[in-house]
Amino acid sequence: MTDDFTPTWEDVAQRYGRKIYNFAYRLTGNPDDAADLVQEVLLRVRKGLDSYQPGSFEGWLWRITRNAFLDGVRRKKRRPESALPDGDHHTLGSSPSPDEVLASVRLSDDVQSSLLKLPYEYREAVVLCDVVGLTYDEIAEATDVPVGTVRSRIHRGRKQLRDLLTWPL
């Protein structure tokens, strides 16, 4: 999305809804929390678009998303108790074989549960990088930290994940 373009609320919902949902799901491991976050973010975007000044739209959007997520965490004051297996959800893509499904579910469960064990800052950086697909600069803007800190958090997050994963890489 170009820097001088202000999208409508519907554009944001259609274009970023899935990314926001997946970001939230991977941070929380909980589809209900992810759905709540999407609603909250879209509400904030709708209110905020009137005062949005064309600039880095992605940075603006992900700051809103992150703040909404953190506000939700503070409100609930609890960590997710368990993550549902990925196989229970409607995912995108073609239909793999049953063995592939089983392997994929086991691996993604392992990765998801390991993600949830990371300190929040590391988990957030890894998810924004590897799930959402932001650059280090965009993550730095969204999380309000220097790029060097982003780089460090992503690496430390991956290093801890490596130690936590039981599935052979």
């Binding site: 519907e10 949902y21 997946n22 893509g93 993604s108 780089r151």
Partner: protein, 201 residues
């Protein structure tokens, strides 16, 4: 004096950033040197690559449909009719109307309701305090300026409502002249999609 970041930590950061394509130009050479014949470094690089891949391969979920708008124009239809949308938004709505028969139908209904309301006689209060009806045309005068855009929108709608023989024939020339009038009154107003631009004399 010890370095700020331990060598092992820096090496891992460089590998991670390299995998993400986020290194500065000089650092690429550094990564290449680190990997040159160092089995430990190569093992670390591979393990980080595996972790990164496993996170990136996590399945992507569909958003539950009820969380997203249905993609229709909703309350923007009224704003469109009233000529209240800014240029970019107006073009976007026009494009949507070309493809969406549901929204065209909605726009037609809104337009009929709008015309019915605007056709109501106005009310004047006499010096004795009694109210009396005045011709609708007086009541409607104040809508004329803003109504040019609405008329243009309506004309466009008529043109878009393919196969609807109850509606008057759509004329691009007529639409163009209305839009030129609106554009003259309001500099910067551009309601025509690029494919329907009318050359000014």
């Amino acid at each position: 004096m010890a370095p700020l970041i331990p060598d092992s930590e820096r090496r891992g950061e460089l590998f991670s950033a390299y995998l993400d394509g986020q290194l500065a130009p000089g650092e690429v050479t550094e990564v290449s040197d680190l990997l040159d014949g160092d089995a430990d470094a190569i093992a670390e690089f591979r393990s980080l690559m595996g972790v990164r891949r496993s996170v990136r391969l996590l399945p992507e979920f569909e958003v539950p449909p009820h969380l997203l708008p249905d993609g229709h124009l909703g309350d923007r239809l009224s704003a469109y009719l009233d000529g209240e949308l800014v240029t970019l938004e107006h073009r976007r709505v026009t494009r949507h109307l070309v493809d969406c028969s549901d929204c065209r139908g909605g726009l037609q209904e809104l337009d009929r309701a709008r015309i019915a309301v605007r056709s109501l006689p106005g009310v004047d209060v006499t010096t004795t305090g009694e109210m009396s009806a005045v011709p609708a045309v007086r009541h409607r005068k104040r809508f004329i300026a803003g109504g040019i855009g609405a008329a243009a929108a309506t004309a466009l709608l008529v043109g878009l409502a393919l196969g609807n023989s109850d509606q008057p024939a759509f004329s691009l020339d007529d639409l163009g002249s209305r839009h030129v009038a609106r554009a003259s009154a309001e500099p910067g107003f551009a309601v025509l999609p690029p494919s329907m631009e009318v050359a000014l004399p």
